[in-house]
Symmetry: C2
Amino acid sequence: MNEDAKMNQVDAMPDPSRRKFLNSAALAGLAGAGLSVGLSACNKDAPAPAAAPAAAPAPAAAAKAVHDSVHLKPGELDTYYGLWSGGHTGDFRVLGLPSGRELHRVPCFVPDALVGWGITNESKAVMGTKPDGSLRYTVGDTHHTHASYKDGNYDGRYAWINDKINSRIARIRLDYLICDKITELPNVQGFHGIFPDKRDPVDPAINYTTRVFCGAEFHTPLPNDGRDVNAPEQYRALFSCVDAESMEVRWQVLIDGNCDLVATSFDGKLAASNQYNTEGGYHYEGMMSAERDACIFFNIARIEQAVKDGKFKTFGASKVPVVDGTKASNADPATALVAYVTVPKNPHGVNASPDGKYFICAGKLSPTATVIELAKVLEWFDGKLDDLDKAIVAEVEIGLGPLHTAFDGRGNAYTTLFLDSQIVKWNVDAAIKFHAGDKNAQYVVDRLDVHYQPGHINASQSETMFADGKWLCVGCKFSKDRFLPVGPLHAETEQLVDISGEKMVLMADHPVRPEPHDFIIFKRELLQPKQVYDINEFPLAVKDPKEAGVFRDGNKVTVKITSLAPAFEPREFKLKVGDEVTIILTNLDKIEDLTHGFAIPKYNVNFICNPQETKSVTFKADKPGVFWCYCTHFCHALHLEMRSRMIVEA
Amino acid sequence: MNEDAKMNQVDAMPDPSRRKFLNSAALAGLAGAGLSVGLSACNKDAPAPAAAPAAAPAPAAAAKAVHDSVHLKPGELDTYYGLWSGGHTGDFRVLGLPSGRELHRVPCFVPDALVGWGITNESKAVMGTKPDGSLRYTVGDTHHTHASYKDGNYDGRYAWINDKINSRIARIRLDYLICDKITELPNVQGFHGIFPDKRDPVDPAINYTTRVFCGAEFHTPLPNDGRDVNAPEQYRALFSCVDAESMEVRWQVLIDGNCDLVATSFDGKLAASNQYNTEGGYHYEGMMSAERDACIFFNIARIEQAVKDGKFKTFGASKVPVVDGTKASNADPATALVAYVTVPKNPHGVNASPDGKYFICAGKLSPTATVIELAKVLEWFDGKLDDLDKAIVAEVEIGLGPLHTAFDGRGNAYTTLFLDSQIVKWNVDAAIKFHAGDKNAQYVVDRLDVHYQPGHINASQSETMFADGKWLCVGCKFSKDRFLPVGPLHAETEQLVDISGEKMVLMADHPVRPEPHDFIIFKRELLQPKQVYDINEFPLAVKDPKEAGVFRDGNKVTVKITSLAPAFEPREFKLKVGDEVTIILTNLDKIEDLTHGFAIPKYNVNFICNPQETKSVTFKADKPGVFWCYCTHFCHALHLEMRSRMIVEA
């Protein structure tokens, strides 16, 4: 590190003893593997002045008013929504902020026993089944969730979330906060980053989301059917574009490198993904041998024109057109579909600044952030920039293990430093000046210790044109001593930071079930969910208790049931052993929050039915006897007495 | 309601308009069904004075100091643990209090994608599988959790939790906070209440938990194999005793009525269950036709002597001895195994007072609480009390829809009023005096509006001899307007109340994923969980990376893998299509919180491995290709690069 960069270390790097404590986990085995290049860049400097103590300082008196508002009084409502990924819990979560309270989990990729997701016929149709009717997958790994845009802000229509394990994308309807579609990306393994576009690159009337872009991390043989398994130099990955409405895959791009995150420009013209392992390695040493990797930019209009022009191929059984985005085929700016800007080293995270000008990549194994100016990338595609890397307008040292970046709308970026367990606040314009040669430019504004090993970070409205610089959340991967011990599996810590002032102020620790990755935070006015379903959305609805009953066709039996607290109709129904039974339940209660459940003992059936909702299950009546179907969701003073008696005659 | 009882209404009943709002949900359909007997007992009185407004009042200035402590500063630890049931989410939860933060979920009855519960061989062995190896059940409905006792307090060994849908009891090891055993109760449907004993009824040396009692709610034919399905008057239920160590069912009791909750005495001699539907009805009208139901008391020593004496039968394939506890067979106190004390009407909840003297039942459809003196129940068994109902030392009106009761150790009881959406604080001694004829005895001490329709309630250390009267939690079944809207499915509200003073003070609303039922709260010193496993607890442990590798026996292949951040060993392994593969993974990292995950794309495999833990999965290699097994639990700066390449050759 040079002396000038060191000047930019406001409050300096952490003291050595704190770093030793922090890195005992995160660096385990790393030093021994000889991986000192990027990581030791700051460490090797002379001892830095003492940092703030590891224990969080009490909030400054100046922040007292804000501090009070973090902790809501009973009955007081949050002012922001947060949409969160649940990691390998496989779900999508809705939080209220600033309280940090988890208000809802939306099941999508994995079963959810509460809702009956994975049990009901309707949820199985969304999730996908094997030929025998069982679920195709019961695990998932959600990382990134983003919502649909209109006019540069969230419009409350949809959110999307990825499943890395099985390369699936799920859509969440934000009117009811339910998952309505899941698409499995063909020929993709390790689907990781995801981002909707913000407008159409060509049609100015479409100033809202119509595409979702999906980055693939793992390179494999194409198609991955057993060929080329022992020739890793032939493995490649695909970048995919999914239609926001139909959820079909529109097109894919064959690329070099492993994609991490995805970002999109506000003008709709560019999508990008930061890439590690441009080396094509298959052991971690090989994946980090190069000093620079890439941020790959996709020229959406050109790609779609190429598809129109038939310049694509397909892989295996997939009919999705795949255009060639490999480095070797895209050297000429005049025809290039993609552009590989180099960034150091195994970068982690690419984020679009709210002013629409820049994408910022964090270095991970390099202590730097790289600022890429989008106008210059477009200039390169237009043949007006001789060297693509001239699009890099800043590349400055910020601390150890930089991963992800958020924005406050006042020109500042906030980047997580995984190894330093810090957030660094830095000014983008000052960094650009510093990079241009002004060594007096003080780009580091503030540092804050967090607890511990932060990954994703986001700020209120950060990824819109309306970043408001009020709240910052940071997802810390280790919690260690921050909560009461609960055995070997620790909660993660989502820490809340007030960024309304010059200095960041740590306000609260929120434990969360592992392992959230990315999230977005926006003003509550942008979402207007409905609390009661429209019964007409359900083709199978049993709209009147008089329509309830048993309908037999040979050994195929349909049982139509209604719920109206405190009774199911019918109160009992008879089946015969061997019947193939479909139960259809409509909850006729119309009152908000009056949900019923329906469980059948020993038949592995349980699901809830919200007001005016209809669900169905199908099973074989293979056990004779009396089975008290009961309401599992407390509904009424006579909830325990709310049952229907299923009699299966031998 | 008589005039004297009305005097006991501190702050009076809610005003009519609030009650109308509250009951729009909870009473839906009830009035129309003509169910006015108990429910209208208070309503029909003259308009009461205005109650506190429905919106929560700001905490009184006097409670300011306590109020501050509800909201922990960053890094500050909770002072109490809470163990919570997860309802039909099927899990067991660990909360920190007073913050209300959920620190951990322990999967038990249903799969958990994060942990790999239901995926690994070890978890499947606990959960139970069908002959084809798939899970027997994937739904559950946990209601009540209680922990093991020693010397009248929690000893930190075990907790137990029920699954109502499939009549299973799970044990949680409190050293690691994991589920280690699940037992399915034979011939039981609707297993609901659960309580461990607190000492042995005979052996004074055993002053700790050795039994767990389980109440059954649904009455069915016995055995339930298709016989007697159309003869509901012959249906009966069984009350079960499970061995705390072996988790085998020791004995069962054939009973009349439907069991709700279970309570046990501090002297070990009595267990009890409140019962509704002593009528044996099979529609809700029939289940509530009688004005009084029962609290059934089990004389543990006599039942175990009867079993020893061979006075039992068995049902169906079960070998568990069943003694006769029906009303008709237990009229003679000299030989009775059980005693049915009458209580009004469809009572909900039975709770043991911390002084060891009383069990209290709440009336649900009657506005009363019934106080039963245990010494008098024992007198009846000893032939010294002519009329069993003389054990009732108080039966007083407290409000509409009373459900459950907690204690502060200072002689006060706190009962939830479901229909009034209130907690009523009342003094047990004063209630006894009032019942005995002292109409000046002011037993109602305070009332607090809660939000809304409260079910379970508990206080810190309430069910031990060390009730400390500090915190009260109340599980509200409806949250309606208390949180930002998130669609048709609402969070529940767990509200926290400060009970250290004369007046209750509402401190915080905590949203929770539906639907917690019961819970316990105790001082953090009573639990000392371990943060790192002992590798020797796992017979399959791969203790050294040198032991890792592929071991083939025909088409049966064992792949032994170790994890040590940032690498798996081996880095790649080869299989052939058709192989039956068992992967054994040991996490050799020893550092607290350094958990790894292991996912195999497209093979539906993902599980975590905590420090020094070993897990295994078995699957068929049915798809050729390259599959990047990757770490799903963020562990290290090179987490993304931490992979092992599974090559399945065609």
